[in-house]
Symmetry: C2
């Protein structure tokens, strides 16, 4: 008989200043996502499925900068990045600068399952989506009025890390990127090791200033700290301290280690997070 | 007065089986590239300029799978990836799935100098090239007869790591990717931490099965071994052993540490490399 583990899940809704009155809505959105993921874990499902399902909820919620509600690039278009990775197998899939799909995280999962490649970008990612029968989704439908009116810079990414009852770890990250970005800009989210990473020791999803997160390969750095025996909370804190020290930048990270223990931190003013480690106990932080 | 360091440079022409009679030409190409980079270092130039210049030589040599001579994707098109990174500053620039430029590594350098983003993909990268006045280069001109006729799978990437007389490290990597890849496929080369990485402790450029290299974040792993005090040769060997163990895949890596010491290894049958640590002493290995 297999040892059964106690599942855990953590979701974030992006690090950065939250200037508008959307904080309550963001926390609600994180809670809804965590509950959907938790239900899968509770029934003995895969961490991978839980992480994907939670991120789909966040992508579909227009309050978040991912999927529907994504920020616009300098040409007024939505180009989205997403990645998913499973810890024990190191399998990973990602898409970058993709449009014409409703849920980039689902497409990233299909890139992973397909197995030929890890990362598909731009028109190629869209073509792959069409070839595997993914429904075309009009790019305009991803744009909500709030984004059309927005003229301040927007960071923000959503992510989920999950640990299932078989002790498997998975991570999923999705984003619309940064406001007014150049067309073709790829941030840290879809890059394995930068915004998203999972191995046998832990899994992490990052958010914040993507270009800086890439330069320190943040998600892999967090997981390497877990491997070195650091607890998840300290690993999160040390890695964000490293980000600040090396790049003078801001961000946040959520992490779960191979024992199912959760950690998160940010050096921004806000990062809505929601986590669950037992049924009915939903914990929130912002 | 600043301490002056003894420069060093190493160049590779891709890991993998070399079935045709091109090995001599590949070694010659590596030598030509190393000499161009060395000349810059010898005159007190930047490691960054040396790495870029060496990779330009490799991109322009049709024997290598980078720039002119790049392999074709499943639609018969060239889509190229490249990245450049400077160790002491952690500045980096990269392009993915780009066509219509002669030298992707030069475009990656311009992405770095521009500073807004680290990675631009596809049409966005091409648009950026046009906006900064990069000459349009007909995509057909990148395709050589050999590639039109090729029906076996081709791996292969070129790379250079350089250490200058001010003790600065830099790395540059460029590739046409893998034969028959899906359009939009991004390999490890342009991904900071995966195929390309540099920090204050060392710099590394990887080649081989890109999807596997991404899953173990190979270049960052090598540099982390240097940080832990491992010598460059052992760091290269340990990281390729890790790649094999975790992913059952093959590849190679070149590396220089912060003392200018060189290391390289491969678990493929071939990887043409050329390195120099003093004037006139050109060393070759395949």
């Amino acid at each position: 008989m297999m040892t059964s583990f106690k599942p855990s899940i953590i979701v974030h809704g992006g690090a950065g200043p939250i200037k508008d009155d959307s904080l309550a809505a963001r926390l609600e959105g994180c809670k809804a996502a965590a509950l959907v993921g938790w239900k899968i874990l509770e029934q003995g499902g895969l961490a991978l499925d839980a992480a994907e399902a939670a991120v789909v909820v966040l992508e579909d919620d227009p309050v978040f900068n991912a999927g529907t509600g994504s920020t616009l690039n300098s040409l007024g278009q939505v180009e989205m990045d997403a990645a998913i990775m499973e810890g024990h197998s190191l399998r990973a899939g990602a898409v970058a600068t993709v449009t014409g799909v409703k849920n980039p995280i689902r497409l990233a999962r299909r890139v992973m399952e397909d197995g030929r490649h890890v990362l598909l970008a731009g028109e190629g990612a869209r073509l792959f989506a069409r070839q595997i029968g993914f429904p075309e989704y009009p790019p305009e439908a991803l744009i909500v009025d709030r984004e059309r009116k927005r003229w301040e810079q927007k960071h923000g990414t959503v992510g989920c890390v999950a640990f299932d009852s078989d002790g498997r770890l998975a991570v999923a990250t999705s984003t619309g990127g940064i406001f007014d970005k150049l067309p073709g800009r790829v941030g840290d989210s879809p890059l394995i090791g930068c915004g998203t990473y999972a191995d046998e020791y832990g899994a992490a999803s990052c958010t914040g200033q993507g270009e800086a997160i890439m330069r320190v390969v943040l998600a892999k750095s967090v997981v390497d700290l877990l491997k070195a025996g650091i607890d998840p909370k300290s690993a999160a804190e040390q890695s964000i301290a490293l980000l600040a020290e090396k790049t003078a930048s801001t961000g946040g990270v959520i992490v779960i280690d191979r024992h199912g223990r959760i950690g998160f931190t940010r050096n921004t003013t806000h990062m809505p997070v929601c986590w669950m480690m037992s049924p009915g106990h939903v914990e929130l932080n912002s």
